[in-house]
Amino acid sequence: MNRTTDTIIAPRRLRLGPDDKPVIFAAGFVLLILLVGTGYTVYTQGNAPLLQPQYLLQQLQVGSFLGIVSAGLMVVILLGHIDLSVPWTLTAAAMMATAVGGPWAIPAGIGVGLLVGIVNGLGVAYLRVPSMIFTLGMNAVMRGLMVAHTGGFAPATAATDLMQYLAVSRIGGVIPVALLVWLAVSIVAVAILTRTTLGRAIYAIGNRERAAYLSGIDTNRVILIAFALSGAAAGLAGVLLAGYSTKAYQGMGDAYLLPAIAAVVIGGTNILGGRGRYLGTLVGVILIVLLNSVLSIMQMPEAGRQIIYGCVIISMLLVYGRGGRVTG
């Protein structure tokens, strides 16, 4: 390992430190899920769909929406805040994108997300309303706006071809475009978090905002930008999801908030902010997606799904997410 060039800046990223443990364990758990799922299908159906690249790519294509939401959410969680407005930001973006249509559909969708994020940021940073409450309120407002806009029915407008291309198509019939979009978002997220002053400021604020402020960091602006990023990510996910299902519909974002939080936390990001790596979030998303698909294959009823979900989160965190003992 190359320890001389980067020792000072990022030694924890190079040696096996506390931040690597979650990634490794989560990756191990992903393998375990694959193994158990394959064992199940071999036993009951005599084949192993989980190990077919085609099937995995299909799952990851569906998972890329969750992955994009999680990337944005992680930035906010690193600050020590949370964005509960994800479900209806996503839905609003999808509805606006399909409503606008044409070449401006995608900018409109992302723009809606960005706008919601900026409002969230203004409330949290400048009015100092707890993010938990402000984003909850914004979620209700967006829901109200969308319900009023559509009259409570699924909008009749359809996703544009470009949206459908991004969400459904496969390059060479193999690589889903959605996966590439997720990859691009991931690269941007990694670059922001590890290579920019913004990223450094996000970690600093998540650890101790007072000290960050006294170091001359414009903490309010950083919070605003982080929420805007989260909103934009939710907006992008909404646009893609609308493309995937060819239209927008009520409540399409409901299934994304809690899994996204779970993915970020399973990936080792501290829910109180200040610590966590993007790679962990990536593995966390894959874990959640595969868990879901294995449970679908098993035709697990909703009750069992919920229980397994909860047990997985707790057991993962018991392995590596435990806080320190308080000793003053």
Binding site: R128, G137, P301, Y309, I313, I314, L318, G323
Partner: protein, 366 residues
Amino acid sequence: MSDTVLTPTAAEPQLKTRRWGEGLGLRWRQHAGILGALALFLGLYLFYQLNHPRGFTGQILIQNANEVFALALVSMAQTVPVLMAGLDLSVGAVMTLVGCVASHLVDGSPAEIALGIVVCIASGAACGFVNGCVVVYGRIQPIIATLATSAIYMGLALILRPTPGGKVQEDLSWAVTSDLREFAATFGLFDDGEAAWLQPFAWIPVPLVLLALIIILIWVPFTRTVTGRTVYAIGSSESAAYMSGLPINRAKLAAFTLAGLFAGLGGLFLALQTSSGNADIPQAGAYTLNSIAAVVIGGTSLLGGTGSAIGSMIGAMVLRTISFNFRIFDVAPLLQPLFEGIVLLAAVSLGGLKLLRLKNKLEVFR
């Protein structure tokens, strides 16, 4: 030995009175949050009553009280972990689970019903205790631990009630969702509720009486114990609480157990009110999120250390009163979520305006 005999204070009477006045002022200021919420509630409720097409009737009061009860208890449940600077995302799920338990057990002979109620309350407390164990012994952040356990509790609720249904004993259901006279009449107490001394109170809805009893018999005593005090201390500064030798683990376990107990009582009532159990995931989520809003409106800081379950109860009443108002003003149901959201944002943003009065910007970061 070091018996520390204290010299009595030679405080003059004037000093005493000044102190007393000062103390009153201090208390007043320290409870500004609750008082603000109370004023907001009274204003909103008065507005609602004045504009109600049928005027003020006991029937409306009973209906309102029934609608408030479950959210009030879930909000009180949420308060306890919030005081420790944690969040309990499982309160809605515990409420739902206990409601499903009640829809199976609260029926039959009086003894069976009594046992059923005890089992319901105990299962609520047990859920809370499990949360506490995961937080204390698993050392997992409360918000995440309860996110996970809430999935488990919802799963259990779904096993108990895959589809809405079940039954609770009708007399009991009727008795606890009407006024005191009916309550007495149903169980043949106090001359079937016609006893003269009861008449001045006969109009009071039973849910409000139950709320008052829960606060007086459970919440107030809890805050006066060392365990309850420790809950506040943990929220204020956990390391200082540890240094002071306070029973931190016991307090955390107790706090989550109490939260489970409150949420369970809410679920029990909801089952009695609807005469059924329903493992409704969106509804559980809505209750959890509304409970957080109610806690904040009730003047409890999400950072822990200050606040009270009484404030959260009032916060829940504020939230419910807002939707009562929508009802009589015929706001299109489609627009209600929009207005609810705007009212919530406006209420919490008003608090943000006090930042403008902060002269030292560092105080923002507390």
